[in-house]
Every structure is written in structure tokens, then in C-alpha cells.
């Protein structure tokens, strides 16, 4: 049910991808996602899929985990495909009344759906191989230059890591509440969408209350351990780029520049 949600989860491992510096991976994440939207031919999409497949293999994360992250957005994909296929004008493939399916629309919809799949796969690959601690460390270090401009990088990174940390907790809590409601005869799985949504509303009260309570406790625990906003903090795991990181950065940057180059030639 809810626990099938794999987006944003970290899977422990020792693969090459796990060992890369989070900043390197953030850069690659950006490059790959931008590339999948810049490439417009099926050849280009094929090439980037091949790169992604190689990376997925390298990550040593089981295929079913990757698949499960697509499973969640399945309805979005279908909707994207249909909306495009029926709304973009072009050669008519077939039509039902005012609804006209066009070849151009079908192509565009398919391309967009594949791109969404790629983005999801890239992002989940990133989160599978990057522990939340490393991720927030990476973000913090990337935001450091903006500190002078008054951007609280460390606090932002902390907020992000706390948010990530509590996703599974809240999912678990939601599941517990669902069970409690079902145990008391709550009918949450039948009826139309509206009816189901209405039967879920009572669950929101305890869910929010629980979150607020937890936030309170967390703040207290952090203060008890001497946390201060704006305080200088050292890190147990110092991030340092290895030679592998430099190679990856160099390679990805060159490919990206080349890609931009081809667009202007």
C-alpha cells in the first residue's frame, strides 16, 4: 500500500555510484535531466536511456526498486500521453466526435511520457545511492558561496534532511491511522473518489497533530544537544572530491557542452 512508496529512499550499498561525492552526483542529476528534455530525437532519447541503464546496472540496486518508483506515477504517464495525443492538431489517426487523435499528438505525448519516466528514474537512482546525510552535506557545501548574500545554507540543508528523514515516519503513521480506522469499521477503500476522500478527512487531524508533536520534540531534543541557528558546525564526514569525482565531472560537463553545442550548430 503506502509503504510501496520508494521515491526518496536510500538503499545501502557499496557500488561506484554510492562512493561518488554527492555534489558530483547532484551535478550529473542536473545534466542528465536537462539532457533528457533537450534531446528531441528518438536517437538521442535512446542514447540517454542507454547511459541511464548502464548507471542503473552500476548502482547494484535491484531492478524491482527502479520499477516500483515508476509504478507510483503510472496514472500521470497515461494522462500525459492521452492529453497530448488528443489536444495537439495534426494528421488525424481516428476521431470520436470532437475528440481527434493525431499522429503528431501521439508522438509528442509518447516523447513527454518517456521523458518523465527518465527523470523519475534518474532522480530515484540519485536518491537510492545517496544517503540523506551525504545529500544534505552536499547541498550545504554547494550553498556555501551564497552565505555571504544572507542565504542560510546550513539551515536549508538541515530542513531538507529533516523533511526527507520524516517521509517514511509520516507514511508509517498514516498507515497506522488507516488500520485504526479500519479496525473501528471505517470503510476507506470502497465508493467513489469523493466518498473515499471524505472518509479520510478525520485521519488528517491526528496525522497533523502527530507531526506537530514530533516537530516540537525534535526542536527540544536539538536544543538540548546545543543546536543553535547560525552556529558554526563541523561535520563528522568531511566531503572531499576524489579523483573519480573529477573524472566524472569532467566527462559529464564535456558531454553536456557538446550537447548544447549541437543545438546551436
Amino acid at each position: 500500500m503506502l509503504s510501496d512508496l520508494r521515491v526518496g529512499q536510500y538503499i545501502h550499498g557499496k557500488s561506484l555510484l554510492h562512493q561518488l561525492d554527492p555534489r558530483t552526483k547532484l551535478w550529473c542529476l542536473m545534466v542528465l535531466s536537462m539532457a533528457s528534455f533537450m534531446l528531441e530525437t528518438w536517437l538521442g532519447i535512446g542514447a540517454i536511456s542507454l547511459v541511464l541503464l548502464t548507471l542503473m546496472k552500476l548502482s547494484q540496486v535491484q531492478l524491482k526498486w527502479h520499477l516500483s518508483s515508476i509504478k507510483v506515477i503510472w496514472p500521470v504517464l497515461v494522462l500525459t500521453l492521452l492529453l497530448n495525443a488528443f489536444s495537439i492538431p495534426g494528421t488525424t489517426l481516428f476521431g470520436i466526435g470532437s475528440l481527434i487523435l493525431t499522429t503528431e499528438g501521439l508522438k509528442a505525448g509518447l516523447l513527454l511520457a518517456v521523458r518523465i519516466v527518465l527523470i523519475i528514474l534518474i532522480t530515484s537512482l540519485f536518491s537510492f545511492t545517496t544517503s540523506p546525510i551525504k545529500l544534505s552535506g552536499g547541498v550545504e557545501s554547494l550553498l556555501k558561496p551564497f552565505n555571504k548574500l544572507g542565504l542560510p545554507g546550513a539551515e536549508l540543508a538541515l530542513m531538507m534532511s529533516i523533511a526527507l528523514r520524516f517521509i517514511p515516519t509520516i507514511v508509517e503513521e498514516g498507515e497506522r491511522l488507516l488500520r485504526a480506522a479500519q479496525a473501528r469499521g471505517g470503510d476507506l477503500t470502497s465508493g467513489n473518489l469523493l466518498k473515499r476522500a471524505r472518509s479520510l478527512t478525520p485521519l488528517l487531524i491526528p496525522l497533523f497533530l502527530g507531526s506537530f508533536r514530533r516537530a516540537d520534540e525534535l526542536a527540544l531534543a536539538m536544543e538540548a544537544r546545543g543546536y543553535q541557528v547560525g552556529g558554526r558546525r563541523t561535520s563528522f564526514h568531511e566531503l572531499k572530491l576524489q579523483s573519480m569525482d573529477y573524472w566524472v565531472l569532467l566527462f559529464s560537463s564535456i558531454s553536456f557542452l557538446a550537447l548544447i553545442g549541437t543545438r546551436f550548430i
Binding site: A180, A183, R184, P202, P206
Partner: protein
């Protein structure tokens, strides 16, 4: 009414953790069954099978002889008959007022108007919460009151079988005692009770039957007297009730066997003294 022949095998969650293995267990009408075991032994998982919230990966859960996971079986009916109080139930309040929360279950079973009001009133009366609490927010009550309101929310369904997961965890000794007395009272009125507990003293005072779960297996079951006095609970990371320990070290005897409750220990001590005095 009878709840009979509950039988489960194997449960796999997530990355294939076998939480329950070869569970064979019967719960009879009128039982007071205590489920004990160290943390992570699978007690709560076992409970979730009792009203069909979890489906066994192997084996069957039977209610009065019918498998509860067959198509014709109405799980909703079962859930109406099996009242379940979860761990820390005060985190699961659904209503903004006590009335709203307690009426959640009977409303779901189709009660309306006067019937609904009567069910809520009766449930609150059974747990000893005064009527003027009806319009208060359940979140603003004290710990002991919250727990009782939560129990009322379950009792409002008028369940045949009451399932309690560590019902007294986090309560102070007075409230704990009150809660146990309340459950014994409900049991006397004919409700079958299944309870998970970490407090051996509680279990021994209650009596009834006891099942010991260890790493997903039932390692011992029988009357509480048998389990507490004949088995070596220390092997399973559990402690003996204080009274049983006392009884052992003083070699107290009650009706020819080891003592289990405070009252029996008292009797044993008097007997021992009396015996010596006579000699």
C-alpha cells in the same frame, strides 16, 4: 459466541522478514488470553491478524470455522465483532470531541440518532468517563482519561472479542491498576479478551491463559499458572513475575503447587508460619 481455531502461518513483509512462523492458536469464547514475548517477537503482528487487517502469507485464520480471507466472508462484520485497541491509542483519535470520536465506530456500523447516542453513552459509562466530557476535545484530556476514551471508542461497537496491545504502557501505576480492573470487569461481563503485555506481574494477577511468542514462534502456551511456574521464561528474554520469584525463594506452597498471585503468596506465608508454629 465463539471465536475458534485461529491458525496462521508465515507472514512476509518488505524484504522478506518472516515475522510469524507456524502459529497454531485457538481463542475460545470467554478466554482471557495474555500474549507475552520480548520486543520484536511478532506479538503486534499476530494481533493484526485477528481482525483481518493482515492476511497470512500461508495458512488460515478461521472465525467460527470459516476462513476470514475467502470472498464470501465479510471482513467488516468481523471487525465489528473484534474490537482492537492499538498501542498508544490516544494518538489515533479521529474526532474533535469525545462524542465524535467514540461515535466513529457505531456510526460506521449504521447506528443513528438515539441508538447512536445510547451506544456512546453506554461505552463511556463502562469505562467510567463522566457524561460532561462528551463535548470536550479528546486531545486535551489527561493520559489516563485519553486511554479510557480510546477504549470507549472500541467498546462502542460492543465487541465479542477485545484485543488490546499493551493497553497500560505509559500509564502511571494507579491508572494501570484501574485499567486492569476495568478489563477484568469487562471479561466478567462476557467479553473475550486478548492482551499483549510486558508486565509479568499484571499477567500473573489476571490469570487466564498465556501464550509466549519468541522470534515469531509460539514457544509455550497453557494456563498462566503453567506458563509462569513451569516454564523458564528467562530463556526467552522475559522475567518472572515478582510474586513467583518471591514464592520460589521462600519455597511458598499454595494448594500443593507454587504460588502465582499476591493472595496465594499471602496464604502460603501464613501456612508456612502456621506449620512451623504447630511444630
Amino acid at each position: 459466541m465463539e471465536f475458534r481455531d485461529v491458525h496462521y502461518t508465515y507472514l512476509q513483509t518488505g524484504p522478506e522478514v518472516k515475522v510469524l512462523k507456524d502459529i497454531n492458536l485457538s481463542i475460545f469464547s470467554g478466554d482471557f488470553l495474555s500474549l507475552i514475548g520480548s520486543s520484536g517477537a511478532g506479538k503486534s503482528t499476530l494481533l493484526l491478524h485477528l481482525n483481518g487487517l493482515l492476511k497470512p502469507t500461508q495458512g488460515k485464520v478461521l472465525y467460527k470455522g470459516t476462513d476470514v480471507h475467502t470472498k464470501d466472508f465479510k471482513l467488516k462484520e468481523l471487525r465489528r465483532k473484534v474490537g482492537m485497541l492499538f498501542q498508544y491509542p490516544e494518538n489515533n483519535f479521529f474526532g474533535q470531541t469525545v462524542y465524535e470520536d467514540v461515535s466513529y465506530a457505531p456510526k460506521n456500523s449504521g447506528k443513528q440518532g438515539k441508538d447512536l447516542e445510547r451506544a456512546v453513552g453506554l461505552a463511556l459509562e463502562r469505562v467510567g468517563v463522566p457524561k460532561n466530557y462528551l463535548s470536550r476535545s479528546p486531545f486535551g484530556l489527561s493520559g489516563g482519561e485519553k486511554r479510557r476514551v480510546a477504549l470507549a471508542g472500541v467498546l462502542a461497537m460492543d465487541p465479542e472479542l477485545l484485543v488490546l496491545d499493551e493497553p497500560t504502557a505509559g500509564l502511571d501505576p494507579t491508572h494501570r491498576q484501574q485499567f486492569i480492573l476495568l478489563m477484568q470487569e469487562l471479561h466478567k461481563q462476557g467479553t473475550t479478551v486478548v492482551m499483549v503485555s510486558h508486565e509479568m506481574d499484571q499477567v500473573s494477577e489476571i490469570g487466564g491463559r498465556t501464550v509466549v511468542l519468541e522470534q515469531g514462534r509460539i514457544v509455550a502456551q497453557g494456563t498462566t499458572r503453567q506458563v509462569m511456574t513451569e516454564c523458564d521464561l528467562c530463556n526467552w528474554g522475559l522475567d518472572l513475575p515478582e510474586i513467583v520469584k518471591l514464592g520460589r525463594s521462600l519455597s511458598l506452597v499454595y494448594r500443593g503447587g507454587p504460588v502465582l498471585t499476591e493472595a496465594e503468596a499471602l496464604e502460603g506465608i501464613l501456612q508456612q508460619r502456621g506449620g512451623k508454629g504447630a511444630k
